[in-house]
Structures are given as structure tokens and as C-alpha cells.
Symmetry: C2
DNA sequence: CGAGATTTTGAGAGCCTTCAAAGGCGGTGG
DNA sequence: CCACCGCCTTTGAAGGCTCTCAAAATCTCG
């Protein structure tokens, strides 16, 4: 997407500070008092909520370039926890910095709105998957999602990638138990859709995997042409 | 929230046109070519997706004041269908109208961003419910959600309201079958949490219902103070 | 008043969970 | 460099929550 130099600079202004996080480190817990947002600059993180029976629902996996904790714009207390899955670097900024950005560069407000829409649609896809898809479809969709997101930052990735998740985490993202995730992975393997070795996943039959997952790539079919031209 | 007169006028500009819809009418189907967004001005609607096995997942119920089809900002083809649950009035506007609005009234961009965040958190709550909550909790949460949303436009509503949904629709929203929804409603009734009569629901024990639903009201705990003052 | 939609109820099946335990892998300390 | 330890993966068996199928009862609307 074409941004003006000035807009780029304004966005970069949000990334002036850096905070380094170790694998496993917590950026915020649920109900923490918060007033900062973040841009994830390096690494992979996740957001989740804990239910009162102790179970966990992973809401979203976060990759470089994602805006984290956007809900802190409106909530005094964090509605979700955010944790680093790998060593990571985040760039914190106060929420009024976003207000100032929007005032000085209104076109960026539109860009941010658009990004949030893409993310929102991805969220509704997962909602539909949890509501209506089988366990196998949900696990397959997660694998496809990860490969596609990893490919955004590493163009070299095609059918082989490292899934840095335990089966328990896969379960918490897909609404399944770790035990059943294991059986589903095995089944995908037996059907020759994927193979696994040492934490690395290989897509043997991507077409078949997409079919099994009912997967739709939401980074396709975008139409950004209506954005007013930059000055 | 305090908007300037000018900002109010600008927002009203989005609502210049009206389109009337009959109960059951379709505003857009999945994959329709689209370039308009809408503000719902009257009535109740819903958005949903159809899965390839024919099942339906209701994504969101839409009440007056909601922005509809915001995803049309970025997608050429509609990712979700939108249908009227009651007779309704929507105000269509082209997506570049939103671009123009944001350029002339940057503060409104921040307001819109904030609204989207509230909605996004509501969506993640439902995601967690579908992933991890029991059928009874999901149905109870839907009832609470509807009462609260209806109360936004009709302050007179307290513990009695009309749920204008079939049990099949409740099922499609909660990821259950109509048959099981029926049993869960009955169970809530037997536990004296609600009563039902002629399509009207009464909350007999709201505290107990909130507990059963693990419900969190996301319109609480908002902090909008950081918004730059209007000029 | 009749037809279709919706709600209700029962019985049986299946997907996924729970519980349990063994095997594998990496990491740490001696 | 090896042994040990904890975490993760894998596998089996049994149970339960929710689904499917089916049919009757009730409701709504023309």
C-alpha cells in the first residue's frame, strides 16, 4: 500500500521505544490496569482469556506488524492477556499518541480501520469454525493460518514451517483438548495431508488441506482502491 | 460521549438516505459484489456465514446505531450475509464517504475505532464461549446479551423482553442444534433462572443467570477520557 | 380454519472429553 | 558427557455432552 514519506514517519513514531520480551513472558494479564498499546516488531505472541473453570481460550496469534492490545483504547482494564510465544520485541505507545496520529494524518486512520476489518473478518472465520466445524477442520485451518502468517515475514516459506506451539496451545486456540488435537494431527498425517518431524510441519497436499479446513484466505480479494490519494 | 455540533452533523450526513427492509429481507448475500456500508437506523438484523455443509453460523446481531458491513471497506466481495430479523431501516453510504468523513473530522475516526474495539471484544467473548463454554452457558449468555442490547434503545426494559429469534436461530448463533437449544431453555426454566411465555422472556434470577453464563458486560469499564477535546 | 413453521419430547449414536499411563525429547546439573 | 528431570507427545479405555433422527404438539398467519 502506498503511503507518503510523511505518513511512514508518523507511523514509525509509534515505534520509537522498544521493549524486549523473553519467550513465555507476559506483556499484560487480564484485568491489568492498562493505557498503552503496542506494535509487535519481532517474534510471535498470543492473546487469550482464562475462563472461570480454569480453561483458556486463545483469541489470536500475533505476528510482526500486528497492533497489540488495541482494546486498551477503550477499556481501563485489559480484557485479554498477552504472552510471548518466542523471544519478542514490542513497541509501546500511549493511547493518546494514536489520537494525535489520527488528527495529524487522517488517512492513516482509514488505513488502521481497514486493518482492523481484516482482523475482524479473520476472527469471524474462527467463530464460524468453533461453532460449526469439526475438530479436524479446525486443526487444519490453524495450520494453514500459521503457514500463511509466517510467510508474510519470511517469503522463503512454502510448504515447510516450524509450528512453535504445543498441542495444548493448539487445543486452546481451537477449542479442543490436547489429547484430541494429537489424534487429529495424526489423522491428517495418516491421510497424507501433512507430515511432521521435530516440530516442523510439511504440507503434502495443500489443496486437500484447504478442503479439509474449509479455509478461506482473508488476505485475498482485498480492494483498497477507494482510499483517498496521499498528499 | 461529547461530540461537537459539527461532528454530529457530519455523522448525520452518513444517514441521509434510507432503505426500508421487510422482516426476512436480505441486505447482502455472501460473495455479493459490494461497495456500500450501512448504519442501522431502526429494527434488528443479523449477519451470518453459510458453511459448505449447509450449516449457518450467525456472527452478530445488529441493533440500531450499529455500523453494518464494515468489512466492505476492504473486501470486494461480501464476507458475510446480512438479513433483517424485523422490519428495519438502514442508511447506505459509499465507502469513500467514510474516507471523506475521516479527513474532515479526524476525531470521529478515533470514535469509530473505539466502537470497533468494543465490538471486537464482544466477538472475542463469543469466541471464548463457543470454544470453552457449555451449551447452557452459551444460551444464557445470548439471553443476557439481547436484553442488554435491547435496553440500549428502550430504557424501559428491565427483566422482561421479547426475544425475536427462533430456537434454530439461537442455535446458529451459539453453535448448537435447535433441539439442544430447546432443552437448555427448558433447563434454565426448571432452575428458575428464567420463565418464557408467548415469545417473551423474563429473568427471574439475573444474578444466577450471569453466573451460569460467565457473562461479562463489555459496555462497562469503558474509559474514553483520552479522546482529544472537540474544537 | 387449514397449512406451514416452530416447539417439544424421546431414543440412540457419535464426537470429543476425561482419566490414566507410557514413551520421547530437551535441558540442566553434576 | 552422562544422568536425571520436567514437559510434551502418544496411546488406550470409558464416559458424557451434544447431535441426529423421528414424531407429536403447538403456534402463527393468511
Amino acid at each position: 500500500m502506498a503511503l507518503t514519506a510523511e505518513e511512514r514517519a508518523a507511523l514509525a513514531g509509534l515505534e520509537e521505544q522498544e521493549r524486549h520480551l523473553r519467550r513465555g513472558a507476559t506483556l499484560q494479564r487480564e484485568r491489568d490496569r492498562v493505557s498503552e498499546l503496542f506494535i509487535l516488531s519481532k517474534g510471535i505472541m498470543m492473546s487469550f482469556v482464562l475462563l472461570d473453570d480454569g480453561s483458556r481460550q486463545i483469541l489470536r496469534f500475533l505476528f510482526p506488524g500486528d497492533m497489540l492490545a488495541a482494546a486498551n483504547l477503550v477499556y481501563r482494564e485489559a480484557p485479554e492477556a498477552i504472552v510471548a510465544l518466542t523471544d519478542a520485541i514490542v513497541c509501546p505507545f500511549e493511547r493518546d499518541a494514536l489520537g494525535a496520529l489520527v488528527e495529524s494524518h487522517p488517512r492513516l486512520a482509514a488505513v488502521i480501520l481497514m486493518h482492523h476489518q481484516i482482523e475482524r473478518v479473520a476472527l469471524t472465520d474462527r467463530l464460524a469454525a468453533l461453532g460449526r466445524a469439526s475438530a479436524k477442520a479446525r486443526v487444519a485451518a490453524l495450520l494453514l493460518e500459521w503457514r500463511n502468517r509466517l510467510r508474510n515475514t519470511d517469503k522463503g516459506i512454502s510448504t515447510v514451517f516450524t509450528l512453535g506451539l504445543t498441542q495444548e496451545e493448539i487445543g486452546d486456540a481451537t477449542g479442543l483438548t490436547a489429547v484430541h488435537v494429537n489424534r487429529m494431527l495424526r489423522q491428517l498425517e495418516e491421510e497424507a495431508l501433512i507430515s511432521r518431524k521435530a516440530g516442523r510441519v510439511t504440507f503434502l497436499d495443500e489443496r486437500g488441506l484447504v478442503r479439509a479446513a474449509h479455509y478461506i484466505d482473508r488476505h485475498d480479494g482485498l480492494d483498497l482502491s477507494w482510499l483517498p490519494p496521499g498528499r
